[in-house]
């Protein structure tokens, strides 16, 4: 900001407006400083300490970061989180777009509302209630899914107790719960696409798939980028979907990074180490988000 500009802002005739403007942004600014910037600075500082919450923090340099590399549980959990993020994002965004396109077709309005409500409804239901139902559905020996699979001659699947399958169950729950929201966003994006493009394509004899691939997807790409970015960040921060369904088990098969941070910080009282893992998670999210934006230059199309 130049001195001239600053002088202009605080010139007597503008001062009251400037003060009013500052007062308007003050709540947001205070909220940002107290709940975002402050904790972030504290996390960086705490990551250099050994701190159990009840005794004063002790400076230990980079020891917490050195510990990261030797922590085998952390890397297993890191892998879980990465896999969850990959498949949950693909499921939510991919299926969300497919559902949005299907519902964007001509059909009786009441039917459209029923479908839309049906797909969006899981997003409105409390996760804890949902998890109780899904636990019952997924139960290996008396669960409903395995009962019907048994009728088809498929042996019981350890949806929650098989370490190789449990993460799949978590992803199924997450997609079932959140796909409706992605669908709504995608539908909003679809409604911004002019029907002229489709009319012109029809005149040229384009197939439905061709119109989807060459018109819908390119013109929806800003919405897809938004969905990918938000879902990826959300997936790396996953906590409650897993806690309520498997609590991270069996073993560490479904534990996520945020669950591990919580465990280290608030159960083992290793607040310093938890802070170091938090910074690692922050770095991963920043890199992936930056990568998404960088790569989006090649495929995101803005009219």
């Amino acid at each position: 900001m130049s001195d001239t500009k600053a002088r202009r802002w605080f010139a007597p005739q503008n001062r009251s407006e400037t003060i009013a403007g500052l007062l308007f942004i003050l709540p947001a600014l205070v909220g940002f400083l107290v709940f975002v910037a402050g904790p972030m600075v504290a996390t960086v500082v705490l990551s250099l300490t050994k701190y159990d919450l009840l005794s004063p923090p002790k400076f230990i340099g980079l020891a917490n970061f050195q510990r990261l590399w030797g922590d085998q549980r952390l890397w297993k959990i890191f892998g879980n989180t990465g896999l969850f993020a990959l498949f949950a994002v693909l499921g939510n965004v991919g299926l969300g777009i497919v559902l949005a396109v299907l519902l964007n077709r001509r059909m009786p309005a009441p039917l459209k509302y029923v479908y839309r409500a049906a797909y969006f409804f899981p997003s409105l239901v409390g996760l804890v209630f949902v998890a109780v139902i899904w636990q019952f559905l997924f139960q290996k020996d008396i669960g409903i899914i395995n009962f019907y699979l048994g009728q088809l001659g498929v042996g019981p699947v350890g949806w929650l107790s098989n370490p190789n399958v449990a993460l799949v169950s978590v992803i199924i729950l997450d997609v079932w719960k959140n796909v409706g929201f992605a669908m709504l966003i995608a539908m909003a994006g679809l409604q911004n696409i002019s029907s002229d493009y489709y009319d012109a394509a029809k005149v040229d004899g384009a197939s439905a798939f061709s119109m989807f691939w060459r018109i819908t997807i390119p013109l929806l790409s800003p919405t897809i980028l938004f969905l990918l970015t938000m879902n990826t960040i959300g997936a790396f921060k996953v906590f409650e979907s897993i806690v309520v369904l498997t609590n991270g088990g069996p073993g560490d098969a479904t534990r996520s990074l945020v669950m591990y941070i919580y465990e280290q910080g608030f159960k083992s009282l290793n607040m310093g180490y938890a802070s170091a893992i938090s910074l690692l998670l922050l770095a991963v999210i920043v890199v992936i988000t930056a990568l998404q934006f960088f790569l989006s230059r090649r495929w995101a199309f803005y009219e």
Binding site: L53, Q139, I142, F147, S161, S268
Partner: protein, 432 residues
């Protein structure tokens, strides 16, 4: 009929045949250490319980306020998912500079609290108050011992739990199996469970619904002469051959004998009430819910024995924070919380096993199940749940080992899971 504290004390002393005690200890309302009744103060609690239990506590605090009208009590009922979580939240609250005066915490959180200096030893306060001392002396010794660290009592018991076998009397009768008798063994248990595992598909009934949490696993360790930590609480004992043997037995219930379904994600108590299991294991806590839902075809038996006849003892107590500005006043409030009237009200709600034998003989406690005294009886041979200062780590590491072992049908995986858990726990202890 309701008992107030003094009636209870009089009745209790008469039962004990020590009427003279009343005179010796002066059971008149003389509060030697009690602050003046016009003291003005504000007390806060760190408490847990159901809404009904919260009402019973509120009533107790009202009675306390009848004596101390200028004292306010903020009873903070904290949501609880596990004892480890509950203790962790207390640590967070105190770390945040918001220490409560009165703390209701289970055995599981005791040693952590003592290590972190979150609880005041109560012996001096109790010894200075004959009425309180008489009440505390009436409580089962096992419970008092469980809340004692290095010879000092840090909490006054307020309720207890143990684990017994609950069995469906109808399924036993229809299956032609004799109800469990005192002294029955693991082999007897397996034989009954096998015989009562019947049907297929939707009509399948399992012999035993396996509750899947740390406290519920304890009786298997204990009846095999094992304990998850060493006697001095300093080290993990998860690698002990007796622990692994008991874990293999649990594993065999699902994978070898097929008498229990996979326990992960299973609500055993609902399924037991639905007649899907011939047996399950619990303390008293599900009984009221079962009866209220119309399920009454059940009774209880002591845990089957392998090498030792034993069960696990859980429980909670009232403690006082060293940071409390009014410990004497907090102690007076606690006296009302452990009064026979309050205890009886809590027992009537149905969660707790009473801390006084007299209350355990009350019709309210005896109303269900038929052999309800067995639940109180189990306390006498029970050993405290393993609750070292690193309980939070022990709890989650053991649970992960159990999850890992049950997910693997190969019994060899049991030993691997527990040896790995032992190493992890030792590392965690060293890191603390």
């Amino acid at each position: 009929m309701t008992l107030d504290r003094r009636q209870f004390l009089a009745g209790g002393t008469a039962l004990a045949g020590t009427v003279g005690l009343a005179g010796i200890f002066g059971l008149s309302p003389s509060f030697a250490a009690a602050p003046p009744t016009d003291t003005a103060a504000a007390l806060t609690t760190y408490n847990w319980g159901t809404p009904d239990e919260a009402k019973a506590y509120a009533a107790a605090f009202e009675r306390f306020k009848a004596t101390y009208p200028k004292v306010t009590v903020a009873d903070n009922i904290v949501p609880i998912s596990s004892w480890a979580d509950y203790a962790d939240k207390l640590v967070m609250q105190i770390a945040g500079g918001n220490a409560p005066d009165i703390i209701n915490i289970a055995i599981e959180g005791l040693r952590l609290s003592v290590t972190k200096n979150l609880l005041l030893p109560l012996d001096d306060l109790i010894n200075a108050d004959p009425e309180a001392k008489t009440l505390v002396d009436k409580m089962p010794k096992q419970l008092r011992d469980a809340l004692t660290v290095n010879g000092k009592l840090y909490e006054i018991p307020n309720g207890s739990q143990t684990m017994v076998i609950h069995y469906n009397t109808k399924i036993f009768q229809e299956g032609g199996v004799e109800p469990p008798k005192a002294g029955w063994t693991w082999d007897d248990f397996i034989a009954a469970a096998k015989k009562l595992t019947t049907g297929d598909g939707a009509s399948k009934v399992y012999g035993f619904g396996l509750p899947w949490f740390n406290f519920a696993a304890h009786p298997w360790w204990l009846t095999n002469g094992a304990y998850p930590v060493t006697e001095d609480y300093a080290h993990s004992n998860l690698n002990h051959p007796k622990m692994i043997e008991a874990a293999k037995f649990i594993h065999s219930l699902v994978h070898e004998h097929g008498v229990s379904p996979d326990p992960i994600g299973l609500n055993v108590y609902d399924q037991f009430a639905a007649g899907k299991f011939a047996m399950t294991a619990a303390g008293r806590w599900p009984v009221t819910g079962w009866v209220a839902s119309g399920f009454t075809d059940f009774d209880v038996a002591l845990w089957p024995t392998k090498t030792t006849s034993m069960s696990v003892l859980g429980g909670a107590g009232w403690g006082i924070s060293p940071q409390s500005k009014n410990p004497d006043l907090a102690f007076q409030a606690i006296k009302e919380l452990i009064s026979p009237k309050t205890v009886k009200e809590l027992v009537a709600i149905g969660q707790q096993v009473p801390i006084y034998e007299e209350v355990a003989q009350d019709p309210v406690f005896l109303s269900a199940p038929k052999s309800a005294p067995v639940i109180f009886e189990a306390l006498r041979t029970a050993r405290s749940v393993a609750a070292p200062a690193y309980f939070s780590a022990l709890d989650r590491i053991t649970q992960r080992a159990m999850d890992t072992m049950i997910a693997n049908a190969d019994p060899a995986g049991v030993e691997a899971a527990f040896l790995s858990a032992h190493q992890e726990l030792e590392a965690e202890i060293a890191n603390q």
